[in-house]
Amino acid sequence: MTMLTAGFADPVLDAQATFRAVLEAVSRPGRIQRAGGALNPPAPLNQAAAAVLLTLADADTPLWLDGGSAAEAWLRFHCGAPVVAQPGAAAFALATGMPPALAALAQGTEEEPQGGATLVLQVSDLAEGEGWHLTGPGIEHEHRLRVTGAPEGFLSAWVANRAGFPCGVDVVLCAGDRLTALPRTVMIAEG
């Protein structure tokens, strides 16, 4: 058993700052926020994804992840979230590699669409002002977002995800200590 690296230095204030970054990201899809810059999570977990899960996951949120045993041990210890084998049973799904199909994750129901999962998706890079064209709630005219390392077929899966509204999955994209979000309402056109 190797030593686990620390979680947030200040669990209360760091969680608050990370939450505001995620709230801003979900409220203004495609705008890039920073989180977790002081964390040193085990590979392949990146800082932003680690910060998001430290902030939002706990014993009440089943977690699915593909990050291997070191990442799993770290998240189990710091969040106390129960790890599940089926992506469809998770409130939070963490994908460091090829993610499960959006349609395989919890969608919520017509009466309780909030049961739709949050996919924390690690990608290699995020950049504003180029790439995809995002429109929808939270966006005045259009936001541009370049996602390097987005999974194959993501945009067509996203069209299907949007079509299920109000059910569906919300995505938080994380690269290094940077993140942005794609709530289920956002429309994405190829750049």
Binding site: D10, P11, V12, L13, A15, Q16, A17, F19, R20, V22, L23, V26, S27, R28, T55, L56, D58, D60, T61, G80, A91, T109, E110, E111, E112, P113, Q114, G116, T118, P137, G138, I139, E140, F165, P166, D170, P183, R184, T185
Partner: protein, 295 residues
Amino acid sequence: MSALESPRAEGATMEGYNFAYLDEATKRMIRRAILKAVAIPGHQIPFGAREMPLPYGWGTGGIQVTASILGPADTLKVIDQGSDDTTNAISIRRFFRRVAGVATTEHTAEASVIQTRHRIPERTLREDQIMVYQVPQPEPLFRLEPRRAETKRLHALADYGLMHVRLYEDIARLGHIAKAYDYPVMVNGRYLMSPSPIPAFDNPKMHRMAALQLFGAGREKRIYAIPPYTEVRSLDFEDHPFRPIRAPHACALCRSTDTYLDEVITDDAGGRMFVCSDTDFCAERQAATAQEAAE
């Protein structure tokens, strides 16, 4: 006031309670609800509301939302019917100064978080501001269909015929829609939503507002949200379009003719005048006028 304990609440602060009063497990639960509320604009999300050291009717839902978002860098403004000076507004400001150590202000322009009961400030809000509304009754269909299971079903089906019939009955009977407060809106073309008991005059300010709008109902344990730049339409009919109503006067103090006015009694002899309900806006306008006169 007793401290709420959590195995993860390592950051308990002075006086024995956690930063911003709520324990960290409760904040996480409320934060998750807020994020889903933003992702599903206008949809009510149940949450496990906590007892707060203020009675219901004092905005415990708004207070729990504010407590879950607030950080040391924030500046908080609290208004009650447009005023910063009511007992309610003063108590809530004092509460957050004590439990979160945040700066407070009475100036809309200086605030990063504005908790409100019954008004939206007159000044146009910015992207770096968040509105938190105190909501007594989150369900817009409550008076028409008291069964919660049934209203959930109607929202799932986007079946809002009941509300259209109710408003149309007003038109048939009175020639206009009688609702002056808590006038129902459609959010992003999908969910019927209660804007809380703000005057219908304020409804247009919600439409494509640059600021994020969050709503907390404490007794009813519901959270909902309107993301920035989101379409918010007051329900109306083609032959009876929605019209925001205000008293047809100028403010007696700042002479404004486009703000929401309260009628106030000025003396025992029944004297009365109309003044801006937004006290901060009115004071700034008076100061600006005085400045111009001096120059």
